[in-house]
Amino acid sequence: MKIIVCVKQVLDTAAQIQIENGKVVSPGSSRIINPYDEFAIEEAVRIKEKKSDTEITLLSLGPEGFKDSIKKALAMGADKAVHLMDAEFEGLDSYALARVLARSIEKIPYDLILCGRQAVDGDRAQTGPALATFLNIPFVTVVTGIEFSDDFKNAKITRQVEGGSEVRELPLPLLLTCQKGLNEPRLPSLKGIMAAKKKEVLTLSASDLDAETLDIDDKRMIEENLCLPPERKKGIILQGSEISGELVRLLREEEKII
């Protein structure tokens, strides 16, 4: 089986952020693999452990710094990587990003594409389903369970919906966006880290992909005025012997919630 795993690098979720010149900054904070993409990588590696003729190709679009996450994902067990890197790719919206990813995938054979259910910075949850749409393959989002048929030609997919879950059966090839609960991502082993150093990372630019023939420069929208959320008004600490009753009174009479 040939699996493509899409990987994005994001700011550590534990990081405090500031806004400078319309951009998020967080000096000294580390970058991590998007947590939902880690579930995708782990799932691919687990499939390979069951089906040894599996080949896992990472696909990542981002600047030079993304190499750290690509290395880590290779150390977790992916076989090789394609790194799409070009100044022209900066600030692409989800539509354009998915167009570029789809173009790069035209040259890679696959049976399964795994993505995270969303990147924890943009929080749009758009790229995965948009990519499947451009590739004209079926997809399931927010996946918490994958069960293959014995011949790996079909899959039974569990998907999270608000208040429950649903199960669908689909033939491969297909694209899945992975949600927490699917698995527990491993830490790379020392052996994995050593092996990763020898694995192939192919870097492709916009011109390698003939990206100028994609309409990625057409603006569909402008996302701007990045700012910190409005500060919450200072709260009060309740004291005294009748705290519970007082809180209920406040929520009822002042906040009018109860």
């Binding site: 749009r124 949850a125 208040g163 402008i222």
Partner: protein
């Protein structure tokens, strides 16, 4: 009245019931429509038109279109996309508003890709500026906000976060249309939805969320939170360490790597307030924090704080709420 623009709303429903968030989306569309002399059309894809069209009208629809097909009993994105594209061909709309649920987000992504149009995802406020709609949306789970303006082709798509756009229904007039539609065969592509389990109130949709952290000291103590949530008609949430310890299901997790929530009331019990947790819940309308550590970060976002042992305070709170709510 001359109508300038058409605002389409896709109704999300499940097991024969309209999702409350769909009524919120209708209310938000109504508010926008009133500012741009627009018309709100509610699209309800279903097997049979057994939902209340009047309810959609009272929440803001000028026209309700029940589009029926045997395959539309459950949401399946391929069917919804086909049906929507067919409607769009018949008559253009300027804006398409959806709930920012798992279904709404994937629908908006597919339509964006098919039509080459922009999406403002998970909006928490929408307004009209110079005749154009713009939307504020959280990024990094709410650590920052950005503003989206549309520039390209229409329809411009907005998905709206649950719980943020609630408005009471009003008496209004509107038109209800029912039509059986054709859908392409997806037999090879997508087999039927085989089962659907669970119908508990979701943390993202609950008006009140009672959430527990490591300060709850063990999974067995979460029954205290369940009791409180039941009295309040809310849902139980959890912090990441609680979920990572296996005390609660991952669907309960609130924070940057879980669910981002904006309920009317968020009660944080024994939660210290890690950065990624605060990101996921600090847009709640009112926050109550109960924690034994007076220096816990959770108090920095709380409207009301109680310093003390959550295990002792929660049962007392439950009793007080019960008293008030049953009297």
């Amino acid at each position: 009245m001359s109508v300038d623009r058409v605002l389409a709303v896709v109704i999300e429903h499940d097991h024969g019931e309209t999702k409350p968030v769909s009524l919120e989306v209708l209310s938000a569309a109504r508010k926008l429509a009133d500012q741009i002399s627009g018309k709100v059309v509610a699209f309800c894809f279903c097997r049979e038109a057994n939902l209340s069209g009047d309810l959609f009208i009272r929440h803001g629809a000028d026209e309700v279109r029940f589009l029926t097909h045997p395959d539309l009993q459950h949401y399946i994105h391929e069917n919804y996309v086909s049906a929507l594209l067919r409607e769009l061909e018949k008559s253009a709309f300027d804006y398409l508003l959806l709930p920012a649920t798992n279904n709404g987000k994937e629908l908006s992504a597919v339509l964006s890709a098919r039509l080459g149009v922009g999406v403002a995802a998970d909006c928490i406020s929408i307004s009209v500026n110079d005749g154009d709609v713009e939307a504020v949306r959280p990024v990094s789970a709410g650590k920052a906000h950005s503003t989206v303006r549309f520039t390209g082709k229409k329809p411009h798509i907005l998905s709206l976060r649950p719980n943020v756009f609630r408005n009471p229904p009003i008496a209004r007039q509107g038109e209800i249309v029912e039509e059986a539609i054709q859908l392409p065969e997806f037999s090879q592509r997508v087999r039927e939805l085989v089962k659907q389990v669970g119908s508990q109130l979701d943390v993202t949709e609950a008006r009140i969320v009672v959430s527990g952290g490591l300060g709850m000291q063990g999974p067995e103590n979460f029954k205290l939170l369940e009791e409180l949530a039941e009295v309040l008609g809310g849902a139980v949430g959890a912090s990441r360490p609680v979920v990572d310890n296996g005390w609660r299901d991952y669907s309960n997790q609130v924070g940057q790597t879980g669910r981002t929530v904006s309920p009317d009331l968020y009660i944080a019990c024994g939660i210290s307030g890690a950065v990624q947790h605060l990101a996921g819940m600090s847009s709640s309308r009112c926050i109550v924090a109960i924690n034994s550590d007076p220096n816990a970060a959770i108090f920095s976002v709380a409207d009301y704080g109680i310093v003390g042992d959550a295990l002792k305070i929660i049962p007392a709170l439950t009793r007080e709420f019960k008293k008030v709510l049953t009297s």
